[in-house]
Amino acid sequence: MKKPDFKWIAVLLVICIAMLAAAYGIFQYADRNINRGLDIAGGIYILLEAVDIEEGREDEALEQAVTIIQHRIDELGVVEPVIQRQGDRRIRVELPGYEDERTAREVIGRTAMLSFMGPDEEEVLTGEHLEDARAQRNPRDGQPLVNLEFDAEGAQLFEEATARYLNEVIFIYLDDEVLSAPVVQEVIDGGQAQIHGIESMDEASELATMLRSGALPVDLEEQEFRMVGPTLGERTEDIGIWAAGIGFLAVILFLVIYYRAVGVLAGVSLLFYLALVLGVLTGLNATLTLPGIAGFILSIGMAVDANVIIFERVKEELRDKKTMLASLESGYNNALSTILDANVTTLIAAIVLFALATGPVRGFAVTLFLGIVCSLITSLLITRLLLRLAFRSRLMRSGNSLGVKLS
């Protein structure tokens, strides 16, 4: 019997160590950067629906509502909030890491209110009387400003106020925020006023939108509300990691007991597989959710499938008294079409779920899809490479290394 070929053994070892190191690096990277869904990171999800909007105005009203909500959420200091239109009449709000549900709802739900206050904190005029608000540039110096137009009653109130506070400051508030605090230089009649001191034209039109919609309330009704406290979410992730770890160890143990030395190599590529899925998930900025974690854990079990199919094939070929390398090649070739056919159906399920589902279940579809693709890549390419090296180096040279007893 020929001696083991140490050159090939060295290559095999280097590849295995490189894969394990890469897997370790990817795990670290994924842990830091993966996008955690609300059910894991904790946070709030609200689906609002506009009720009783004037027909034909839905689009405008909803766009405005989104802008207002965005502006208000900024007050909460939430990192990466999502405020999006969904369909014709709905707005979806996601606040990762935020758990004060009452404040969140209150801040979103209230109607933007414009008010003019005298220096003595007395309200002189409110947004009720606002007819229109438009962003424009000051014809004199080109600075952005918002032009306000009041209705008849508002015009009169404004005239009285400017007369009363002549040479004093009038504060213009939107909700609790001072938008501008101009000094009244003359009595203003005709129901026109301007807000100066705005930094950019974009800001001016956003403000104008808010003022117009503040004057035109859109009634938003809660359709769906979800809140997960951060500790529960964290615990969910811990359990997921724990289960993945236990499951992985059990699978490795099984592979090694059943397929001996070959099982060890399958274990190395399975670990690499896990890193690959997590790395791709992180790279694609996909969201990890609880069903996603379940899908991931499920895929550990299923990733073994391709390996098992192939190893069983190789065993059969060995029983037919073929050489190790020849058995490996024909085992792989025979198993290939079966493996592809078998996985297409699960891919169909993943694609359908991705197309139709929302939220956490969509996260499941993504992990399921990536899990299948990555498991095909690792079992068809990487495990095969490792086995070829192991067989070529004569490190594994009999059926024993696959757990086959040849008579």
Partner: protein
């Protein structure tokens, strides 16, 4: 071996399917009209889930009293684990499921808990789904399952001979019905992730059937009709190790997840879909061995008999 016993397998599966249909029909008429006899959760019919940390041990009856005062007699109350600051798990959490509650009603209820348990009482999870969204999600779920089934059936029919397709599809329907039947029988609550579980089961079941069918297709070449039963038997046996090994590893990881949740959360509430997957994997493995291939053989033999009669 397996082929000789195929009649028994058909009978067992037939009985299981009948039981599943019976349970679904019974619960559809008696318990939940119009829901296929399944216990649909808040994702599909609307409803509110409130999980709170009460900060001390409590009596379930006391929680019920508060719920009653808010007109929520029908609510379900469950004790769950919460984590203390030092990481220790204590069963001071309560999981409440009520009908659809608006924002204000929900706030009032939470306020009552806060009055009784003062500061520690805090919400750890809220899920509140309105009737309209529930109905939409129900519709989407049905469409998703239907589209996936049609897609898989189309793929199998395109890739395999007609009789193989019928056999694989029968195994698939068998698995789905039995899983639904068990869920109906136990009245486990289904939410959105269950759809994901169901489609995975379907994928898994078909996957399993295809691996064996592929083997039969390969082994059957150049064989005479008389040898068919033996070939099918041999193909199943060749794949038996694989079927069992793969199912075993999959069950291992799923069981780890389920046990983990039960120990740390004290409720299966969040992972009912994992239970569905576990049942699905077991049933799927069984059907790929005892239903799909034997059924194909039965169909094939009938075809041969017909051909012989026609001659």
């Amino acid at each position: 071996m397996i082929i000789q016993h195929r009649k028994k397998a058909f009978i067992i599966s037939g009985v299981l399917i009948l039981a599943a249909l019976f349970s679904m029909a019974y619960h559809m008429v008696v318990t939940h009209p119009g829901s296929l006899g399944l216990n649909l959760g808040e994702d599909f019919v609307g409803g509110t889930v409130l999980e709170m940390n009460l900060g001390e041990e409590f009596e379930v009856d006391e929680v019920r009293e508060i719920l009653q005062a808010h007109g929520q007699e029908g609510a379900s109350v469950q004790r769950v684990m919460v984590e203390e600051d030092d990481g220790e798990l204590v069963d001071e959490g309560v999981l409440i499921k009520t009908g659809i509650m608006g924002e204000d009603a929900r706030d009032d209820l939470v306020d009552s808990f806060r009055e009784r348990w003062e500061v520690p009482a805090e919400e750890t999870r809220i899920e509140s789904v309105g009737a309209a969204v529930g109905a939409e999600q129900r519709r989407t779920a049905i469409i998703a399952v239907a589209v996936a089934l049609v897609g898989m059936v189309a793929y199998i029919t395109f890739r395999f001979e007609f009789n193989f397709a019928i056999a694989a599809i029968a195994a698939l329907v068998h698995d789905v019905l039995i899983v639904l039947g068990i869920f109906s029988l136990l009245q486990l609550e289904l939410n959105e992730p269950f759809v994901a579980a169901l489609l995975t089961i379907v994928g898994y079941s078909v996957n399993d059937s295809i691996v064996i069918i592929d083997r039969i297709r390969e082994n059957i070449r150049y064989r005479s009709k008389k040898e068919y039963p033996e070939v099918v038997n041999h193909s199943i046996m060749q794949n038996l190790t694989r079927s069992i090994n793969t199912s075993f590893t999959t069950l291992l990881v799923l069981a780890a997840l389920m046990v983990g949740f039960y120990v740390y959360v004290g409720s299966f509430d969040l992972i009912v879909f994992v239970i569905a997957m576990i049942i699905g994997v077991i049933v799927g493995t069984y059907s790929s061995i005892f239903i799909a291939s034997p059924l194909w053989l039965t169909l094939k033999e009938r075809q041969f008999r017909k051909a012989a009669q026609g001659q």
